[in-house]
């Protein structure tokens, strides 16, 4: 018995000492380290940017380190929640669609207007009177097309209307090409529905004096189930998926879409501008153009601009005490010209920081450069709409992206009950709002 007790005491003492030592180890390092979250995964362009950013920060802040927390393809939600629970959120974090949650929880430190002015960044719409996120670049969402396949069907300019778009896809199909790459398994399934909702239910240029569709919906004045335009959108989605999406699409996700499109196996990809950053690493050797989203209601076609408010690709700080100054230095190092250029190249975004002496994204790989040129030209020609990304307090619930993806999955699964599909969107919206 005595031996057992001794063993227990020795074991417990050892455990306590080991824990204490483990706690001490690296404590000094941690005090001089700024942790930064980023979604790099296997994307080479993103990695290059982070390495340049880290080198710039560590060069200008001797003795300090910048440590990467790579969240891969995840969007941080679960990671941030667990770090909130343990009280150690990283000092600099990507915000994605979580800014309002983080701000409401009191985890973010606001940025002064001088920060934006220093780099020539437009002031994002404030959230409850404050600005938290450092805006990156102009991120647009539109339609990537395989120029050769579309030309083969006789279409060389962006279709203005949804009818023109559908007619063109039929022509491409008739020529023996696969008209569309589309995977229904994950988030990317929502893209066509997102494009349609953002460009039809919302004003192309929001009028501050007029409540948006989001505001009207939250006030109970409109709903998907009762809005004839929403019904029309759903009808068009059913027609679209029935006509151009082959059996088995529910097995495919973003990676399969990318592989098909870059492999020259599909003529059209409804995907955000970030795809440009993957052209060179994937050695895509044909010409791709980037076109605006055609209208379902006779409006002019537009790109959807998704980085203008305090969400999406935006970074922010949670640092307190003496680390706050260094966390701000990390945010500032982002706009070093060399670092910022790498960012624009990796993400295929356009310049937002007007005082930073860089142009748009560039690449030595000709097809990538041609795509950037196409994006820049068409961005200038057709312009953008913010769609439903109006402000942190004026947008659908963040989980609405997945709601749209699920509705598209339902259609792919054979659900043709438009009333039920619209109700799903209303129900999800209402449920998600209760979590905000």
């Amino acid at each position: 018995m005595k031996q057992l007790m001794r063993l227990g005491v020795v074991g417990l003492t050892g455990l306590v000492m080991a824990t204490a030592l483990a706690g001490c180890a690296g404590k000094e390092d941690a005090a001089k380290t700024i942790q930064v979250t980023r979604n790099i995964g296997g994307r080479e362009g993103f990695r290059r940017h982070f390495e340049a950013w880290k080198a710039q920060f560590e060069k200008t802040n001797p003795g300090w380190k910048m440590e990467l927390i790579d969240l891969g393809n995840a969007e941080g939600e679960q990671f941030y929640k667990s770090r909130i629970a343990t009280g150690d959120l990283p000092e600099v974090i990507m915000a994605w669609q979580l800014t309002n949650f983080l701000a409401d929880g009191g985890h973010l430190v606001p940025l002064a207007d001088e920060f934006y002015e220093k780099f020539g960044l437009p002031l994002p719409p404030p959230y409850k009177g404050k600005r938290y996120t450092s805006q990156s670049g102009v991120q647009i969402q539109g339609i990537a097309v395989n120029k050769r396949m579309w030309a083969d069907a006789g279409v060389t300019t962006p279709p203005a209307t949804w009818d023109d778009f559908i007619a063109a896809l039929h022509k491409i199909k008739a020529k023996g090409h696969s008209p569309l790459v589309y995977g229904g398994r994950e988030w990317s399934a929502h893209m066509p529905l997102f494009y349609a909702i953002a460009t039809t239910l919302y004003d192309l240029q929001p009028d501050p004096a007029k409540p948006s569709w989001t505001k009207l919906k939250d006030a109970g004045k409109v709903s998907f189930a009762t809005d004839p335009t929403a019904r029309k959108v759903l009808g068009r989605m059913i027609e679209f998926l029935d006509s151009f999406v082959a059996k088995g699409a529910l097995s495919d996700g973003y990676n399969e879409e990318q592989r098909d499109f870059y492999g020259g196996k599909g003529a059209t990809w409804m995907m955000g501008c970030w795809i440009g950053g993957d052209i060179e690493p994937n050695k895509v050797d044909f010409e791709i153009e980037y076109w605006p989203v055609p209208s379902m209601t006779g409006r002019p076609p537009k790109f959807i601009y998704t980085s203008g408010f305090q969400n999406g690709w935006a970074i922010t700080t949670t640092a307190k005490g003496e680390k706050l100054e260094k966390a701000r230095a990390v945010l500032e190092a982002f706009y070093d010209p060399g670092v910022y250029q790498q960012f624009l190249n990796g993400e295929s975004q356009f310049k937002e920081a007007q005082k930073v002496p860089v142009a748009g994204p560039t690449s030595a790989w000709l097809p990538a450069q041609k795509l950037y040129d196409s994006m820049a030209t068409n961005l200038e020609k057709y312009g953008t709409t913010v769609g439903f990304h109006i402000g942190l307090d004026d947008m659908p619930p963040p989980s609405f992206t997945m709601t749209m993806a699920r509705v598209m999955q339902e259609i792919l699964s054979g659900n043709r009950d438009v009333d039920r599909l619209l109700k799903m969107m209303d129900d999800d919206w209402a449920s998600a709002r209760k979590g905000m």
Binding site: M5, F101, G184
Partner: protein, 311 residues
């Protein structure tokens, strides 16, 4: 053992007895204390906190939740998606309970009769169980992929391309895909339970049956099955728990899809709490599910215990 009245003991004996009792108490504390602490810290406390959160509208982003009383429980009774999740979970659970009680038992009886390569064949059946759920689920996801999955590749190679299916995407097939995944993973474990049960059947019973000229079916019906009823009780409760707790397999493979077709109760709780930031409501769903599961399991055990054979 006879007890000696305390008053009849010598003082030194009484002291020795007290010291022994203290030592025993200390030893119990040292030996059981850590386990009790861990159990209380990681099971009991979270369960109590879970109930407390169910009375709030906590989003998971703030430090302190707001008390909302029984509002979450009231909402629960009108929640059609919760009902749909219950229906799907019950369907999967029914298939699993049936398979893990009947199928695994038949397999165990057959494995018990093996004369050659007994160990190897049993190990092969047990092997999927030692794989993590994540690995099994990813493996099935690969098998079921429409374009490149092994199943469809095989069908196409055999000239049966028309029979190729979107096993995970077709709403008519996906419930059976989930069932197949869980059944494949768990079959080895459940058949091992039955095999262990079969080893407890006294040889004399088999010898007597042989003398009476009983065939294999008769031996199973009259000897093995009645003797296995306690194992059936355990297996059915475990299968019920496996079915009701279906979650990881869903997260890795279908993520509740296509659409909302494979929302189990577990996935619905995750969807509410993590993806929709409704930790309070998710806790209410968890609590109700937990209470229902305890009730069903207790009923199941009570019913099956009555049928158990006492030797």
């Amino acid at each position: 053992m006879t007890s000696v009245p305390e008053a009849g003991l010598q003082p030194e004996h009484r002291r020795a007895k007290r010291v022994a009792a203290v030592r025993e108490g200390l030893a119990s504390l040292v030996l059981c204390g850590p386990a009790v602490l861990v159990y209380v810290g990681f099971i009991v406390l979270p369960a109590i906190l879970g109930f407390a959160y169910s009375l709030t509208d906590w989003t998971g982003w703030t430090r302190w939740p707001n008390y909302v009383g029984l509002a979450n429980f009231r909402e629960l009774f009108h929640d059609t998606r919760f009902l749909a999740a219950i229906r799907f979970t019950l369907f999967e659970t029914m298939l699993l309970v049936l398979f893990f009680t009947v199928g695994a038992m038949i397999l165990a009886v057959l494995l018990d009769r093996l004369r050659r390569l007994k160990g190897l064949i049993r190990a092969l059946f047990f092997y999927p169980y030692i794989l993590s759920i994540l690995v099994s689920a990813l493996l099935f996801q690969y098998l079921a992929n429409y374009r490149e999955g092994a199943l469809n590749t095989m069908l196409r190679a055999l000239g049966l391309g028309a029979a190729a299916q979107d096993w995970m995407g077709d709403p008519a097939l996906v419930p059976y895909f989930i069932f197949a995944l869980v059944a494949w993973s768990g079959l080895g474990f459940f058949s091992t339970l039955y095999l262990a049960g079969l080893q407890t059947v006294p040889n004399e019973l088999y010898e007597a049956a042989a003398i009476d000229g009983a065939g294999p079916l008769s031996v199973f019906v009259r000897i093995q099955f009645p003797m296995l009823i306690p194992v059936i009780t355990t297996a059915s409760v475990l299968a019920l728990i496996t079915g009701v707790n279906l979650f990881s397999q869903i997260v890795v493979t279908t993520q509740g899809g296509p659409g909302y077709r494979t929302f189990t109760v577990g996935y619905y709780i995750y969807w509410l709490g993590v993806l929709n930031n409704r930790q309070g409501y998710a806790s209410a769903v968890s609590f109700v599910t937990f209470a229902a599961l305890v009730g069903v399991a207790a009923l199941q055990v009570a019913l099956l215990r009555r049928k158990a054979v006492q030797l």
